[in-house]
């Protein structure tokens, strides 16, 4: 019997909604392997968020709220997660694949002597025969993997599991865990990306720009269109490398993976690494002056043209449409 512990995330005092598809994964896995799942949230001053986690049918919601957990550090947090997992008899740990779990979960897996599967996109089979699908080679290959150890750790692709469905109300339990800090790592500071726009992972429309927009001034061309659509802005690696956009706007194999209802690819060629991060979008629009650009092969609607002419025109048309 599988007992799955989902690690939810708080960020700057709020529940990170993008961490919730892991609950859906856990519910599916519990269904297929005859088990149950719980949700845990660690942090400081986060007790008030328990209510947002208690309506998904989890067996329990565990809140670890203590000042020591104000800032994340991999070593002490891995120890805390494993202590909690042992305490409640968890056999599997799950969370959404993002920079938090990428950093933390392998350490948790090592402590649990568990096999870890990164970026799970689907669950196959059931019972002891359960296997997991995960993208490899920038999504050009889908591997099916099997965990050989009694315990397992999963990071799951948030774009491949729905936000959790409402379920029975879960009891909330406050848990006190020792904060075991060996002092080898020290938090110094966090500089958040300041943006009034929605998060890339949560927006229903994403507008990504590439080198075709040339510079910061060119990139600013996307602002008005994004404002009108309530869209998030994304970028290619080249644009981030050039310092035009902050790193956390990079969409692709090694950045964020998004799957909005509508994705605009503006002045970007469609390198394998970028396409890996956006090809699950529902509707893809590509605008590029090079009609041979590979992005047109994945776009539902392609428009060959100069982005500096097309974007103002398109922005105007959207403004009219939105009335």
């Amino acid at each position: 019997m599988n007992n799955i512990l989902v690690i939810a995330e708080a960020f700057q005092g709020k529940l990170r909604k993008t961490s919730l598809p892991a609950v859906t994964f856990a519910a599916q896995l519990a269904g297929k392997t005859g088990g149950e799942f719980s949700i845990a949230l660690l942090g400081s001053g986060i007790s008030g968020l328990a209510g947002e986690l208690s309506s998904f049918g989890a067996k329990s919601v565990y809140i670890v709220d203590a000042p020591e957990f104000t800032n994340y550090l991999a070593g002490p947090w891995a120890k805390a997660v494993v202590t909690l997992a042992d305490k409640i008899g968890a056999t599997a740990i799950a969370g959404v694949a993002d920079t938090f779990t990428r950093d933390l979960f392998p350490r948790v897996a090592a402590r649990l002597n568990a096999g870890m599967v990164s970026e799970v996109t689907a669950i196959f089979g059931e019972g002891a025969d359960v296997t997991f699908q995960r993208p490899m080679w920038a999504g050009n290959v889908l591997g099916t993997v099997k965990v050989q150890t009694p315990k397992s750790v999963f990071s799951v692709r948030g774009t491949d599991f729905e936000p959790p469905a409402a379920g029975a109300t879960s009891p909330v339990q406050n848990v006190t865990l020792a904060y075991e800090d060996d002092g080898k790592a020290k938090y110094v500071k966090f500089e958040p990306t300041v943006s009034a726009r929605p998060d890339l992972g949560e927006a229903s429309v994403v507008i990504s720009g590439g080198r075709g927009l040339k510079d910061k001034a060119g990139f600013a061309l996307l602002d008005e269109m994004a404002d009108l659509l309530g869209a998030a802005i994304g970028a290619t690696r080249a644009v981030v490398d050039a310092g035009i956009c902050p790193n956390d706007l990079q969409v692709g194999q090694t950045g964020r993976v998004v799957a909005p209802q509508l994705y605009f690819a503006v002045g970007l060629s469609g390198a394998i690494q970028h396409v890996a991060g956006m090809k699950s979008s529902k509707v893809i629009v590509a605008i590029n002056k090079d009609e041979e650009a590979p992005i047109f092969a994945v776009a539902d609607y392609g428009l060959v043209g100069d982005v500096f002419k097309v974007i103002p025109e398109l922005t105007e048309a959207i403004r009219k449409h939105k009335g």
Partner: protein
């Protein structure tokens, strides 16, 4: 500073990867291989740190006989010597790679272990963190800047939502992100010099490591191709399609 650094050999990141018809792996015929781009960043950083602070850079790879080529690439960038642990990719998972690297670390006792934040074939992004836990060392993953002092590093990490700075005491494990530096193109004299630098070879047995895998890949398949779309001729036509056909606006 004595620095251990990874040099994984991967398929060309820009190559179109195809799955074998029987689903047992990928088609390797005609594929080119390169040094993992994130390892390149790690090696460049290691060499820069050594040039500034003195010490030694040891590159380590795990792979079949051909993996020695990525060690030569690392040596051409400026690493001093290489360690080749012979084991085919198919016989490895992130955990075994981490246990091998942890053993190499224990044998060499470096001050710093720099790794790429992920390899662009498996895309798991686990190995550095696993090594850190196995060795009970502090980690700083997804580094975009490293400042070194005598007994500690100050590292900037690229996270979802912003940039974080942490300090780690040495020895430490750091994984490199793409913006850590601009890896140099090795010069011809350095490529030639790299051929004469020493490379030690080990098997998993030599290192006394249990080769049992925790995660096995049982099948490979190609993802469903996205159905091709259409080209529109104007912004007007695009708006019409988005509103009336896709109902996306």
């Amino acid at each position: 500073m004595k620095i251990l650094v990874t040099a994984k050999r991967v398929t060309d990141p820009d190559a179109k990867i195809r799955v074998k018809a029987d689903g047992t792996g990928i088609e390797t015929a005609g594929l080119e291989y390169k040094l993992n781009p994130f390892c390149e960043n790690a090696i460049e950083e290691a060499v820069q740190l050594r040039d500034k602070l003195g010490g030694e850079v040891i590159a380590v790879t795990i792979g079949n006989d051909d993996a020695v080529q990525s060690l030569r690439s690392a040596l051409a960038i400026g690493a001093d010597r290489g360690i080749h642990v012979k084991l085919a990719d198919e016989e490895m998972d992130s955990d075994l790679a981490a246990r091998i690297l942890a053993k190499v670390f224990q044998n060499e006792s470096p001050d710093l272990f720099l790794l790429g934040k992920q390899a662009v074939d498996g895309d798991s992004s686990q190995v550095g963190q696993l090594v850190a836990e196995y060795l009970d060392l502090p980690q700083a993953c997804f580094a975009s800047a490293i400042e070194a002092a005598a007994d500690k590093l100050t590292v900037t990490r690229e996270l979802d939502g912003g940039l974080e700075t942490i300090e780690v005491s040495l020895p430490a494990v750091v994984t490199a992100d793409l913006r850590l530096n601009e890896p140099r193109l090795p010069t011809l004299p350095n490529v030639l010099k790299a051929k004469r630098k020493p490379v030690a070879e080990f098997t998993v047995g030599d290192l006394g490591i249990d080769p049992t895998l925790k995660v096995v890949t049982v099948a490979y398949e190609a993802p469903a191709a996205r159905a091709g779309g259409i080209k529109v001729k104007s912004v007007e036509e695009l708006m019409d399609k988005l509103i009336n056909e896709a109902k996306a606006l």
